[in-house]
């Protein structure tokens, strides 16, 4: 891909990461342990893209052109990167077959831990503008909205599942699928046995 285009794509991403790092001093401190390290990040699909992430004093720099040798490399599709950043299990996501890692894996793990763990204390910034009381009320409201959103989502999913399985009978239930798979397996085994028996009898007939 055109290097200038890649560089232009990197600019806003770099600005966002560095802005978030400024709001999360803990992560910024952890990042400094990797100062000077370079990670080659390759996206394999939907577009081919190679970016070098360089850890600098002020944060990170994303470059489309890097002439030195990277300390480590990571290659995956865009969807795998999305999973990587949202996954709770670092080891599971990082060492899945969809992600290829080369070079110093300690650098990859460390940078992944910092970037995936970036967290902003929104309440602190909100409070400095609107005051503690308003911030408390607002965060209560947000928490209630989150809880309501979560329970609503679960209820909707349960209802849809029940309708599709039990009422409309459009989809089989899990136990029905398991039973059907078991019957198929049993049928396959019987066919294998019949096939083996036929071959054995055929061999006897030929001998006779």
């Amino acid at each position: 891909m055109n290097e200038m285009f890649t560089s232009s794509l990197c600019a806003p991403v770099e600005a966002i990461i560095n802005a978030v790092l400024k709001q999360d001093p803990g992560s910024a401190l952890q990042l400094q342990a990797f100062r000077g390290k370079v990670l080659r990040v390759e996206c394999t699909s939907p577009i081919k893209l190679i970016v070098h992430l360089v850890v600098e004093e002020q944060g990170v720099s994303l470059r489309s052109v890097f002439e030195g040798e990277a300390d480590a490399g990571i290659s995956a599709s865009a969807s795998s990167y999305a999973k990587l950043l949202s996954s709770d299990s670092q080891t599971g996501a990082l060492f899945s077959p969809a992600v290829a890692i080369s070079g110093d894996t300690h650098v990859v793990q460390g940078l992944h831990r910092v970037i995936a763990g970036l967290e902003i204390d929104w309440q602190d910034h909100f409070a400095s503008v609107f005051g503690d009381v308003a911030t408390h009320q607002f965060s209560e409201l947000v928490s209630r909205a989150k809880r309501w959103g979560k329970s609503s989502r679960e209820t909707v999913l349960d209802n849809v599942e029940e309708y599709l399985h039990e009422e409309a009978r459009l989809l089989p239930s899990k136990s029905e699928v398991a039973h059907f798979s078991a019957r198929i397996d049993e049928l396959k085994l019987r066919l294998d046995r019949i096939n083996a028996r036929t071959q054995r009898l055929g061999a006897r007939v030929n001998d006779a």
Binding site: E3, A11, F66
Partner: protein
């Protein structure tokens, strides 16, 4: 190699281009100086307006192409308001040095104030100079960058030779400049758009003439291939260029060979 003050000047050896005008060679630097004195305070605002902000991305890519590392010495030639110096200063770190140089005192003052306001001072020096005669010892810099500046230099060949001289062997020069669009449609759209610049310049800075000069000087600037051969004539090797936005701008890169031919 071309003779002094000839290849970029008009047929008469004593005159040169100032936009579409032909002026005496001795007068061009002064006329360009007036232009930049006039626009210095609103230079960054106008850049954002004229390029719709894209000049930031182009500069970012140019810095990536520079390959500048910690501890190196960099010359930001015609550096004006210091966009490149800010980026280079962070790349070379406390062990390196960046020289922000410009022929125009007003531009240099704006750049210096801006850098000091940002707290950038430990590795930056300021010099008012003429790019045709760089007052540095040979083999001084690891990288020289001239962005949107070569167009305004009276004798471009002399400037390129001077840059070559003060560059360390193995060092690289970057020339970011307006160029010639490759596509006719892009060219026409760009021509139409740039015709608006003097009007915008009049509204923002109260000075349409300076931006009329800007538009005219872009038209008179050599195209990608010509500038590349000018760099080769000055002694640079492995010269190449990157078209930006279909050739509206071009970034030329050239290296000083490790050994003299």
């Amino acid at each position: 190699m071309s003779g002094d003050k000839k290849p970029n000047s008009s047929n008469d050896a004593q005159t040169t281009h100032f936009g579409y005008e032909t002026v005496p060679v001795a007068e061009k630097a002064q006329r360009v100086g007036q232009v930049f004195h006039s626009v210095a305070s609103k230079y960054d605002v106008m850049n954002d307006l004229m390029s719709l902000g894209t000049h930031r991305l182009v500069k970012r890519f140019t810095v990536e192409l520079s390959g500048v590392r910690a501890g190196q010495r960099v010359l930001d030639l015609a550096g004006g308001t210091g966009d490149f110096t800010i980026r280079f200063s962070s790349l070379v770190g406390p062990t390196g040095e960046v020289v922000l140089a410009d022929i125009n005192a007003s531009m240099l003052r704006v750049g210096r104030d801006r850098l000091i306001d940002k707290g950038i001072s430990q590795n930056v020096m300021y010099t008012q100079l003429n790019a045709e005669q760089l007052p540095f010892a040979p083999d001084t810099f690891d990288c020289i960058c001239i962005a949107y500046g070569l167009r305004n230099v009276t004798d471009k060949d002399a400037a390129l030779r001077s840059m070559f001289s003060v560059l360390k062997p193995g060092g690289r020069a970057l020339v970011l400049e307006f160029s010639k669009p490759r596509n006719d449609l892009v060219s026409k759209v760009y021509d139409g758009y740039s015709a608006l610049w003097p009007i915008v310049g009049k509204l923002v800075t109260g000075d349409a003439d300076s931006y009329r000069y800007l538009v005219e000087s872009i038209r008179m600037h050599p195209d990608q291939e010509t500038l590349k051969s000018m760099m080769e004539n000055a002694g640079f090797s492995d010269c190449r260029f990157h078209d930006v936005m279909g050739g509206v701008c071009a970034i030329h890169v050239g290296f000083k060979p490790l050994t003299a031919d």
